[in-house]
């Protein structure tokens, strides 16, 4: 018996019958065909599979698809705006904040949440602490930290109403 789940993924409604044990990550990848959500550990440590569910970051390898029923999910595919890159994506590109790119979707979603919560963020130590739940094996994080700080500044400029 497979319950029916429905959710909004990157602004589009999706519905499917899924086994209760099906992971949200597998649902997004195999059923919705959004392969940008990557599985790096399947035990909730590496953060590569991070997506936003109702605006909150979750490890989609630790959440079942049925738990996201009725929710709104944002994956890396939902980040770019009007065909252009999101300021976070632009900053990652310009700062060489990705090498193999496998962990990148998780970092982007974590950072997106972070900068929505803390648009004023600028302190390196705070950024490092906030990103410490995501693993990257390629970059040594320095360029990721720089990209997130730069993206925060760009986003503040883009939305001047935000209090600094």
């Amino acid at each position: 018996m497979s319950p029916r789940v429905s959710m909004v993924v990157n602004g589009r409604g999706v519905e499917a019958d899924v086994e209760p044990r099906r992971l949200l990550a597998d649902f997004l990848r195999e059923d919705v065909h959004l392969y940008g959500t990557h599985l790096g550990c399947e035990h909730g440590v590496c953060g590569a599979c991070t997506v936003l569910v109702d605006g909150e970051p979750v490890r989609s390898c630790l959440m079942l698809a049925v738990q996201a029923d009725g929710g709104e999910v944002t994956t890396v595919e939902g980040l770019s705006r009007d065909g252009g890159l999101h300021p976070l994506q632009e900053a990652f590109h310009e700062h060489h904040a990705l090498q193999c790119g496998f962990c990148t979707p998780g970092f982007l979603l974590t950072s997106l949440y972070l900068l929505r919560e803390r648009p004023d963020l600028d302190d390196e130590g705070e950024i490092r602490a906030a990103l410490s739940g995501n693993l990257c094996r390629c970059t040594g994080y320095q360029n990721i930290v720089d990209a997130v700080r730069d993206a925060a500044a760009r986003m503040r400029q883009d939305s001047p109403t935000t209090k600094g």
Partner: protein
């Protein structure tokens, strides 16, 4: 004038990866595809009495279960391409009769989904007869040790002994004023790319041809080894490599799963995909590094090091994998590092144990060599009462005496003192020596550690590799084609795994052909398209060997472009220049044709070609380096140790190096930052411990601790530039460099920080609990 080489050009593949459109092995699908999982040995050493798969096979959706007994009679053992005179340690796609390490693949289960395949795996019943086993190289060397290959009549657990010597070591030790001897233990680590491994195989039984996608750094070697194992001609196998989520050497190997998944595809008649589970990866992917080293150095009172000898034991695990005991060999032959030490002797024993096979990880054997040499130089400095940097300066091979033969290799070029001096200048500019005193006076434990490395890169001269026993070349071949529209396609056998080699190669091509890099598409990872590469993607050879091949092919095409353009412009080809896709008469930019005009002439309008010129516009050129290249550099770590918690934090990290010509500084810096992070992981966190019998004491990322953004330092980096005399273009390569000197510098800094306690740290990783044990157990003050 180079327009693109040396430029900080952001990567073109980023857009794909940033928007979730990059396709990795786990993202690939084929019509009718089914899924494989592996059943692995739970025992370090056990005989397989029987396997009963009947219940699994009866489950709906289960397609096949293959075991060692189902393997073709004539299936070859998994090959080792680095033969240095060792005993054979044959192992197969699936264990036949016995398993020699926990995690060895025993059966492959194929089902309609991965969930079903995992369910079915639980129903496969193996009757095991556990056998005596050994989980430690020291124990494996004991007289009464269980034998890993007792069934093959080995009298002991030593797979190979390598010895090399130069000069008169014994006399040098007899005549020495000072001798220091130290024993080091370097732990098991592994590459641990964020993307695990994976394979997708499709067997076309109509024509008996295999197509195999694999997350691998060795596209041609994988094809050839598959051909050898399966007994198929190479041209009936096509290997493709999609986007790779990091390799770090662990994907430089040819694995049992590649063979087993291919066989499963043949058995089921369906495309079969296997993606390694993270927990599985800790046992199924090659481990690296583990060695015990005893090293002695002899010196005169003035600090001249006169001799070094090393006795190395490599814990190879249960089999010699694709690269044999290559990394251990490299540690042994690099025992003199960058120093002018006339007398040296090494013995390295490759010892088998009931553990996951040891293999490649960024740096191969060099981080170990650097650690034991650099830490011992520090000891010697202390013994002599000399400054650590002065002792290094005194023993550096001076620039005027390069190139110079060391124990095995010939170091090529550079200025080591200038590099170290600049790093020390930065240390002083940033005030650390003064601040260390001030902070110490405040009761804080602050230390400074120094190390100096060189790296064996641009691997390598094919004849030298073959003479050493390597059954592979070291050359690279590039193919450059100008298309009819003037765009360029560059084909390389090197694999892009995130290190940015395709971007770098397009910069080299752009300069040498006279086009914009945006006009160049780089094709990688398909044996049906790309030229053969001798050694695969590793050993910091992409920019140097691959770059030189691209340079040659680009220039060859450019010559033809100039002949055709000269004909079209009625000008002497020698008077032409090419830039940004325009070919023009020097000094008269209005007299010009485009690369597209030339392309059309070459393919479509023979009427515009010079008399006797062949159609087509492409070249294939090989480059086989005459010598290795030797980048080098200084690491200086400044750390603070909290003696109440054992925590190490970085106050600063200085990295000054020379990797010859830099193609793209942004990429070079990224490579170094990432590699230093792995070296810091080695120094502080990462370890794969086993119990005495060979049972793993790890299984998740909670035990195998990777460094996060919160622990790692910001690097202060400077480049120096001594072009390699042996590589056209002067590139030396940089991929592995950061892993080599960083563990020694970090551990030296910790030791310095703990100077009041007089500790000696000869073992990594230096975890908080190791530090607490060294400084004596203390009560942790509650916050």
């Amino acid at each position: 004038m180079p327009a693109w080489v040396g430029r900080r050009m952001p990567r073109r593949e980023d857009a794909e990866l940033l928007t979730g459109r990059g396709r990795f092995i786990g993202d690939l699908g084929r019509s009718g595809m089914v899924h494989a999982v592996f059943l692995r040995s739970p025992y370090p050493h056990a005989r397989i009495v029987s396997i009963d798969a009947s219940r699994a096979l009866a489950m709906p959706g289960v397609r096949a279960v293959l075991t060692g007994a189902d393997l073709p009679e004539d299936l070859g053992a998994q090959p080792n391409t680095h033969l240095f005179g060792e005993r054979e340690t044959p192992y197969f796609a699936l264990a036949r009769e016995r398993a020699r390490y926990a995690g060895e693949p025993v059966a492959v289960i194929v089902a309609d989904s991965q969930y079903l395949a995992e369910d079915a795996r639980d129903e496969v019943i193996v009757d095991w007869e556990p056998l005596p086993s050994v989980g430690d190289a020291d124990r494996a060397l004991a007289d009464d040790a269980p034998l890993v290959y007792g069934d093959r009549d080995w009298p002991d657990n030593v797979a190979a002994t390598f010895e090399q010597e130069m000069g008169d070591v014994d006399s040098a030790f007899d005549e020495a004023d000072v001798v220091v001897t130290e024993r080091y233990r370097i732990q098991r680590q592994f590459g641990c790319s964020l993307e695990t491994r994976g394979v997708l195989a499709e067997w076309d039984e109509n024509v008996d041809e295999l197509t195999l996608w694999t997350s691998s750094q060795i596209v041609h070697i994988a094809r050839d080894l598959l051909a050898a194992v399966l007994g198929l001609p190479e041209h009936r196998i096509r290997v493709l490599v999609p986007r790779i989520g990091g390799g770090f050497g662990a994907k430089f190997h040819f694995y049992p799963e590649e063979t087993a998944v291919a066989l499963a595809a043949r058995a089921t008649g369906r495309p079969v995909r296997w993606v390694e589970d993270r927990m599985e990866s800790f046992l199924a992917t090659v481990h690296a590094r583990e060695q015990r080293v005893e090293i002695s150095m002899a010196a005169r009172e003035d600090g001249t090091i006169t001799a070094v000898k090393g006795d190395l034991v490599g814990d190879m695990g249960a089999a010699l994998h694709t690269v044999g005991y290559g990394p251990l060999w490299l540690t042994a032959v690099m025992i003199t590092n960058v120093y002018e030490i006339p007398n040296a002797r090494v013995r390295a024993r490759a010892v088998v144990t009931n553990k996951t096979p040891l293999g490649s990880f960024r740096g191969w054997g060099q981080p170990q060599a650097n650690f034991v040499v650099e830490r011992t130089v520090d000891r010697l400095a202390r013994e002599l009462g000399m400054d650590r940097a002065d002792l290094r300066r005194r023993n550096f091979i001076p620039p005027e005496r390069l190139p110079r033969k060391s124990l095995h290799h010939t170091l090529d070029s550079g200025d080591y003192p200038r590099c170290l001096d600049r790093a020390l200048e930065l240390l002083d500019e940033r005030g650390w020596r003064e601040r260390q005193h001030e902070l110490r006076d405040e009761g804080r434990h602050v230390g400074i550690g120094i190390s100096f490395y060189t790296e064996n890169s641009a691997l390598g001269p094919s004849r030298m590799l073959n003479q050493g026993g390597v059954q592979q070349g070291g050359y690279d071949i590039a193919r450059v084609r100008v298309e009819p529209g003037g765009e360029v396609t560059l084909y390389t056998g090197l694999c892009e795994m995130g290190q940015g080699v395709t971007n770098a190669l397009s910069q080299v091509c752009a300069d040498n052909l006279g086009v914009h890099p945006e006009k160049i598409k780089v094709v990688t990872g398909d044996t049906s398209q790309v030229p053969y590469t001798g050694y695969g993607t590793g050993a910091s050879r992409g920019a140097a060997v691959g770059g030189a091949a691209v340079m040659r092919a680009s220039r060859k095409v450019r010559e033809k472009v100039m002949r055709i353009a000269g004909h079209m412009l009625e000008a002497n080809p020698d008077d032409l220049e090419a830039e940004d896709g325009m070919i023009f008469v020097r000094g008269t930019p209005t007299a010009a044709v485009t690369m597209g005009d030339v392309g059309r002439a070459a393919y479509l309008r023979a009427i515009e070609l010079p008399e006797g010129e062949d159609p087509g516009l492409e070249a294939i050129e090989a480059f086989d380096p005459p010598q290795f290249a030797w980048p080098y550099g200084a690491n200086i770590a400044v750390v603070e140790v909290d003696v109440d918690t054992g925590e190490v934090s970085f106050l600063d990290y200085i990295y000054v190096h020379d990797c010859g010509t830099i193609v793209n500084p942004m990429i070079v810096e990224g490579q170094i930052m990432g590699a230093v992070a792995q070296g810091i992981g080695a120094a502080l966190f990462e370890s794969l411990p086993y119990d005495e019998e060979g049972q793993p004491l790890f299984g998740t990322f909670m035990e195998y601790v990777l460094p996060t953004a919160a622990e790692l330092p910001r690097l202060v980096m400077e480049h120096q530039h001594t072009p390699s005399p042996n590589i056209p273009g002067g590139m030396k390569g940089v991929g592995e460099a950061g892993t080599i000197g960083s563990p020694a510098a970090v551990v030296a800094a910790i030791e310095d920080a703990l100077a009041p306690y007089g500790v000696r740290i000869n073992e990594t990783p230096v975890t908080p609990s190791a530090i607490l044990a060294m400084v004596g157990e203390r009560e942790v003050t509650p916050a």
